[in-house]
Point group: C2
Chain length 215, copies 2
Amino acid sequence: MGGHPYYPEDLQLPGYVPLFLSQSQIVGVYGVASVLVVTFIWFISGRCSRISSIDRILMCWWAFTGLTHLILEGYFVFSPNFYKLNSPFYLAEVWKEYSKGDSRYAARDSAVVTVEGITAVLEGPACLLAVYAIAARKPYNYTLQLAVCLGQLYGDIVYFVTAFLEGDKFSAGRYYYWAYFVLANSFWLVIPSIIAVRCWKKISQAFLMEKPKNS
Amino acid sequence: MGGHPYYPEDLQLPGYVPLFLSQSQIVGVYGVASVLVVTFIWFISGRCSRISSIDRILMCWWAFTGLTHLILEGYFVFSPNFYKLNSPFYLAEVWKEYSKGDSRYAARDSAVVTVEGITAVLEGPACLLAVYAIAARKPYNYTLQLAVCLGQLYGDIVYFVTAFLEGDKFSAGRYYYWAYFVLANSFWLVIPSIIAVRCWKKISQAFLMEKPKNS
């Protein structure tokens, strides 16, 4: 019908050009690039003095998620015509493939573009700052991590709730719904929740240390 | 055309019932109720020992904004048919009037409903908890205030950017655009920004007090 693989089928995407890369190629490049980033940060962070393993793992996470926000999501935000691209440009292929799980990306839904814009422009750089803030033991490091986690969680809620309110009709089948829309995004629900709770506790501890206990 | 006072004119609102109250009545009730809440909290907070004027002002703000989120915005979120109400129920009248500044409320735009849902259900109770946390000097009080401020700011950005991306066409004229859409919401951009910066600094100070300076 619409000449594209997305749902709903009556979605109009004039000028759509089919994918050049396979799913395994697209996921594979992301996976390998992520492993390289994480490995690099893990070894670099080992050279910081007196740094805990948890902080090193957090530095890896913030570098991975920050680069994802800046590069992948940043490309999407500023490339409304990615689905018309007539060459196998990797970042366009990512969003052509992901749109099978949520066609609002190809359709340029305003809520999705807004959440991705906040994520790419504000949270992306903030994640990379968090890598530095942890390594440099900045007094704002937990505050910054908490702020970014809350932003990621807010964005996820808007993302899922708007889809639900509009009838949850944007996936090209059950596989893409569960693999892309639910599973891929769930990492950004679970991990920021865990980090946010940890930062909250660390900040409360700092205030308890500052003052004498219940005098 | 559509039998309602909102823009765009082709918006379909079957069953729309015109306003019963005037603008001054609607704004007046909100103003008087707000003054009562603020006055009540100001005097109650004066009975807390060793509490600064800034903290008392913050308690007033959190009570005012929390009750606004819970009552006004909470009503909107769970009342999709408010514009059909055939009696002068105050909360329905508020949203019938406000929709002149942003018809996405009457039209039940999914991004607006989602942001208002997060605001009413999560941030409303969190604001009232902040009133208590400040009075009780809880170690999490700045963290909580910061978290709510960031949520309010995130919601405002989604609110304004989605309107902009969809052509900024939801106001019934320049007056309602500036008075309702811009001015009324701007308080929730300016005040949370100021409080967020203050909390950020307070938390950083706590970490600096906890540890010896750059050893």
